[in-house]
């Protein structure tokens, strides 16, 4: 393998990035269109077309066959990697993008609609790129592609003080967390001598644990701190309630889903939870920075769940409530991440692998949370905004159908059977319970029990919403508006929440998540 063919790998990946390229090009067209007087429908149809084309391209391309690109030296030169995880995340980004475009159709004022849409398309392209990043610089840039348009998104549709506070707070804390992430990345580069993620994992994996410098734990802490901001893990969650409250509803939904998905994918990639096929995971997945990683994630998961659920009990503002709910759900997903290394080491063939459960939960969480936000947005009118829990009173009388869908999303968030939220929680908790004994025998069952206690605490504030909708009447009933696109977004989320909970849908998603987790290609050699 000469250097020329290695440098060719630097060029040859461009055709593979066609879906993201189309999306960014359409975003440029929409930005230019924002300066003309054309109505929003043209730009929304154009972006729906671009996203649908992207979905079709990705489906047509199909997930790469396992082992087809194993041991290719180009992996260590190319800044992007196309494995099953990439395919999964791309589909998630583009599919989610379709829902977000429908969702925002009538939410944003006419004057800012095109600017808003352009920013949103760039964000979606960023999430998609994040799934394929194989280089620290590429990964950081794709995370910034998500963050920078989000600052604009938060401020665009509203000009009040809450909105200013939200965008300023998010901007300052986001660049602060990026600094942490870059700090960790620079140490990582110092450790491994390359910015290529496959190269870094290879270098760390071929070094014996005892020879590994203590700097590795500094990297671990910095990277988890920087990405913890994106997934709203507990000590880094402070911004979420204030920002969600001040953001437009679609902005809050976007914040609840896209940075979280990107943060988890980046954690999977950087901490070596999903190994590229060219690198063999000798020490097991997730252990690249030492076997303290699961312990760190365990504590993070426990604190995150409790902070999210307990503080949500006190909230009266709907968006604040869903902000704390999204923190709590990040905690559940962290359980899956923490349990993943030991589960994979045990090499069990039946039951859920940790990463598989995490990816399943990510999709389920996206469907139910975005769905709940879409209902709030659908019911809000400028004359009668839905801000607090009490604003939902009497919804079962004025909008029985929408109230039923909201109940579906809330039941899914609680984790009641026949919803995707239940299946996801089932996979996560039973995965954690199944971690085989050893020196940390008690840690994971305790974590699973803590998770179940938290699910019970969570039921209280979700059921409170159901009670308000069904048992109370309102002096001034919810008006709502007729908006087919918003209703379509709610409908898609409801279909996913129901469809992914039962065998055909659930099986398909679990299989896709299993392929993406790389469980078949990297069976643990012990």
């Amino acid at each position: 393998m000469g250097t020329e063919s290695l440098s060719r790998a630097l060029v040859e990946f461009f055709p593979h990035l066609l879906p993201e390229g189309i999306l960014v090009a359409i975003a440029c067209v929409v930005f230019l269109g924002a300066t003309t007087r054309a109505g929003r429908n043209l730009w929304y149809l154009l972006s729906l077309g671009a996203l649908a084309t992207g979905v079709l391209l990705i489906i047509a391309q199909g997930p790469p066959l396992s082992g087809s690109n194993s041991n290719r030296p180009e992996t260590f030169a190319s800044p992007v990697l196309f494995d099953n995880l990439t395919w999964f995340i791309r589909l998630l980004a583009f599919g989610g993008g379709l829902v977000f475009v429908l969702f925002s159709w009538s939410e944003v004022p006419e004057k800012q609609a095109a600017d808003f849409l352009g920013c949103m398309l760039v964000t979606i392209a960023g999430l998609s790129m994040c799934g394929s990043a194989n280089d620290l610089i590429g990964l950081f840039l794709s995370l910034e592609m998500i963050s920078i348009p989000t600052y604009v998104l938060l401020y665009l549709p509203r000009y009040d003080e809450a909105s200013q506070e939200a965008s300023m707070k998010y901007f300052l804390l986001s660049i602060f967390s990026s600094a942490f992430l870059l700090f960790g990345f620079s140490y990582l580069y110092g450790l491994a001598g390359t910015t290529n993620l496959s190269g870094i994992l290879h270098a760390l994996d071929t070094t014996d644990v005892r020879d590994r410098p203590a700097l590795a734990s500094v990297v671990l802490i910095m990277v988890v701190a920087g990405l913890g901001f994106k997934i709203t893990a507990a000590p880094f969650h402070f911004y979420a309630p204030d920002v969600y409250q001040g953001a437009p509803t679609v902005g809050a939904a976007l914040l609840a889903f896209i940075p979280k998905a990107a943060g988890f994918v980046a954690l999977l990639r950087v901490l070596g939870f999903v190994f590229p096929a060219a690198v063999s995971a000798r020490a097991g997945i997730g252990m690249a920075f030492g076997d303290q990683t699961p312990i760190l994630l365990c504590f993070l998961a426990a604190v995150t769940m409790f902070v999210g659920n307990l503080l949500a009990l006190w909230q009266d503002n709907l968006k604040r409530l869903f902000a704390y709910s999204s923190i709590a759900h990040a905690g559940y997903m962290l359980i899956a991440l923490a349990a993943a290394p030991l589960l994979r080491q045990a090499g069990r063939n039946e039951g859920a692998d940790g990463i598989e459960a995490l990816l399943y939960y990510l999709v389920a969480y996206g469907a139910m949370t975005v769905g709940a936000f879409a209902v709030i947005s659908y019911l809000s009118t400028p004359e009668r905004p839905i801000e607090t829990v009490d604003d939902l009173a009497g919804l079962s009388r004025s909008h029985p159908g929408v109230a039923l869908l909201m109940v579906l999303f809330l039941f899914s968030l609680i984790g009641i059977p026949l919803t995707a939220g239940f299946t996801g929680k089932f996979l996560i908790f039973f995965g954690a319970l199944a971690v085989p004994g050893g020196e940390r025998a008690t840690l994971f069952p305790i974590l699973a029990v803590l998770g179940m206690i938290n699910a019970a605490i969570g039921a209280w504030y979700y059921l409170r919403l159901v009670a308000v909708m069904y048992l109370r009447t309102s002096v001034r009933p919810v008006e709502g508006k007729w908006c087919p696109a918003g209703l379509a977004a709610v409908g898609i989320c409801a279909l996913l929440t129901l469809g992914l909970s039962l065998p055909p849908g659930a099986d398909w998603l679990v299989q896709a998540a299993r392929k993406a987790s790389g469980a078949t290609t990297a069976a643990a050699p012990k």
Binding site: E4, S7, R8, L10, V11, F14, C28, F31, L32, A34, T35, T36, P213
Partner: protein, 132 residues
């Protein structure tokens, strides 16, 4: 961890010497100025900027946002030049880029310029340059 081969601490001796001299000089100057220097305060001397403009009004006043927009626009093109210079110097030199890379890199630079053009047209049409 064993020291790297070829590492010789004595090679860094001049640097330590230099550091000691600098610190010594700085310290001595400060102490001397404090001890020896005469001190006669006049009203002019006590102004924040002794030889500058006389301060008029409050420094914390609002500036028109147009200044910032223009400054950002200027920075964008400044940085663009910074990116273009290395490419222009390296790309067509003997032994510079390999032949198969020159095409993709050329198109990459064109895309970069096109993206900036989009931003420029956006600014222009949004009325950033209109100095009302």
């Amino acid at each position: 961890m064993p020291p790297e081969p070829g590492f010789d601490l004595s090679a860094y001796f001049p640097i330590f010497l230099y550091l000691a001299i600098i610190l010594g000089f700085a310290g001595t100057t400060l102490i001397l100025a404090h001890v020896v220097g005469p001190r006669r305060d006049t009203s002019v001397k006590l102004m924040p900027y002794e030889s500058g403009m006389d301060p008029v009004g409050d420094a914390r006043q609002r500036f028109d946002v147009k200044f910032y927009l223009l400054a950002i626009m200027f920075l964008v093109f400044d940085v663009e030049l910074l990116f273009l210079y290395p490419w222009a110097v390296v790309a067509y030199r003997e032994g510079g880029l390999p032949a198969f890379l020159s095409g993709p890199v050329f198109w990459g630079v064109l895309v970069f310029i096109a993206l900036l053009l989009v931003a420029y047209v956006y600014d222009w049409r949004k009325g950033v340059f209109r100095w009302r």
